[in-house]
Symmetry: C2
Subunit: 132 residues, 2 copies
Amino acid sequence: MKYSRQRELILNTVIRLKGHPTADMVYRALRDELPNISLGTVYRNLRLLSEMGILRRISLPDGADRFDARVDGHDHMVCTRCGRIFDISLDILSGLEQSVTDQTGFQVASHSLVMEGLCKDCQINIQKERGI
Amino acid sequence: MKYSRQRELILNTVIRLKGHPTADMVYRALRDELPNISLGTVYRNLRLLSEMGILRRISLPDGADRFDARVDGHDHMVCTRCGRIFDISLDILSGLEQSVTDQTGFQVASHSLVMEGLCKDCQINIQKERGI
DNA sequence: TTAATAATAGGAATTATTACTGTTTTTAGT
DNA sequence: ACTAAAAACAGTAATAATTCCTATTATTAA
C-alpha cells in the first residue's frame, strides 16, 4: 500500500471530527483543504482503513455507515431525538462474545450492538418542554 | 387500516419461510400465488407489519433487511460461511437494556445485536475439509 | 348501493455505496 | 535524479435496497 495525501487527510478528518462521521461528512469537511477530492476516494479509503483496523465501521439500523477512530472493543448508543452517537463500554458487555460462544456453540468472531433511546441532554430538554 | 389479501399472504409467507427472509425472498415466494404482486407492495406491508409489532425487522451490517415472525425479545447470529441467521435468547442478554440505562443514564428503548461467526455445522464442515 | 378511503401495480426516484477508466502519484531499483 | 511498475486518484456510471408517486382497484361503513 502506497502513501497518499488524500488517505492521510481522510484519517485525520475522522479523528478531528469526533462524533462518528459518515463518508459524506468526511467528504464535505475535506473540501476546504482538497477542493477536488472525489467522494469515491473517501469511500474507498474509509473502507481500506477499516479493513486494516485503523478505523472502525459502525453500521446503524438506518442511514449511512459511521466511522470511528476508536478501535478498541466498545459499543454504541444512538439518541433518537438529537441523532448523536455515544460510545458505551460496560463490564457486562466485555465478555459478551465469549459467553455466547460458550453457551450456544456458535463461534462468535465479532458483534454489532447499537442501543437506541434518549441521551441525558434530550431527557432534560423534554422535561423542560413539558414544564412550559 | 383495511384488510388486503396481499398483506395477509405476505405475513403468512414470512411465517412459512422461517429463515428470516428478505423482502425480495418474500416477493419471489409469493409470485406463485399472486403473479401480479408488486415488490413495492411487499416492502410497504413488511414495513407496516413491523411498525405494528406483528413482524420484526432485523437490520444486518450488510445486505437487505430481514423479517422475523418471532417478535419477543431475542437477538441474532449470522454465520459468515453459510449465511444462515440464528435466533439467540440468553439470560445475560435479557436485562441488557435495563443494565445500560442504569449504568449510563441513557434511556434505552430498544437495541439491535447481531453476532457474526461460524455456526456449528460450518465448524464441523471446516474440520472435515481440513481432514481431506 | 354507493361514496369514502385505503391499498394496489407498475414505474420513477432516492440513497448509500461500489465499480470502471483514463490520468496522475508514489516508490523501488537503477 | 530517471524510469517503469504499481497504486491511487478524479470523475462518472452502475448497483442495490428501499421509498415515493399516480392512476386504478378493492374494501367497508352508512
